[in-house]
């Protein structure tokens, strides 16, 4: 796991739940955060509140945040809790993603688990497609970024 291996060197994962790809994040921000903790098998990295990352709005349903307390422990909440139009899916693109998606890393986010590597100076170094980041050379990129070295000129796979 890259996070455990490199966090002491100054590596951090910033996760943003997004309900714009197949409406696959219908939970509240709290529910999506808990899910991310389980999926990554750790709970000591920041998971922010739900945002929009696409430049065009998407219509998805989501669990009403007002129902969170009632349904937070229900694994079937998505089937039983009342759903409302999810404003996070129809919102304007988050400024974070407007920044990340600048050339040469532009192009619409295609699906969940698209990743951006950002250097210590806050500039984007590499973008990865939703597939396995290790197959896309992320570990080597990460090591170089942590050491303050330039990344190799070409990614192993183009991200698109």
């Amino acid at each position: 796991m890259l996070y455990k291996k490199y966090r002491d060197d100054g590596f951090e994962i910033l996760a943003f739940p997004v309900n714009q790809f197949g409406c696959q994040a219908p939970g509240t921000s709290e529910m999506e955060r808990e899910y991310a903790y389980r999926k990554f098998q750790m709970d000591d990295f920041p998971v922010f509140d739900k945002i929009a990352v696409k430049s065009k709005p998407v219509r998805c349903k989501g669990i009403d945040p007002a129902s969170y307390e009632e349904f937070k422990d229900d694994p079937d909440a998505i089937l039983t809790a009342p759903l409302i139009d999810d404003v996070t899916s129809s919102s304007p693109e988050s400024p974070v993603y407007a920044f990340l998606k600048q050339p040469p890393f532009d192009g619409e986010i295609p699906w969940n688990y698209t990743k951006f590597l950002v250097g210590r100076d806050g500039k984007v170094l590499r973008r990865y497609s939703p597939g396995d980041p290790l197959e896309q050379g992320m570990e080597e990129d990460l090591k170089r970024a942590l050491a303050g070295k330039e990344l190799s000129a070409k990614p192993k796979n183009p991200y698109l």
């Binding site: 943003f16 197949g22 696959q24 994040a25 921000s29 922010f48 974070v96 688990y113 806050g122 970024a145």
Partner: protein, 77 residues
């Protein structure tokens, strides 16, 4: 910068070019104070100059300055 003196200056005592330049300078000053700073694309130099909501509150990504980060969009299904 204080343009109070410029506002009462008699333009006949100035070259036309100078007067126009002063008007442009004043307009630029007004523009700079009324235009929103956050052009997400144009103006931002660093991810760590931005903020994001967490637990319903705004959090500065400056908390991660000097770190190497991976930003990832996640979902639950």
């Amino acid at each position: 910068m204080d343009y109070a003196d410029d506002n009462v200056v008699d333009s006949s005592s100035l070259g036309r070019r100078t007067a126009l330049a002063r008007v442009a300078a004043i307009a630029a000053t007004i523009g700079a104070t009324t235009t929103p700073v956050a052009h997400a694309r144009g103006g931002v130099e660093s991810l760590y100059d931005l903020t994001a909501m967490q637990y319903g509150k705004e959090r500065s990504l400056g908390d991660f300055k000097n770190k190497v980060t991976v930003v990832v969009n996640v979902a639950s299904e």
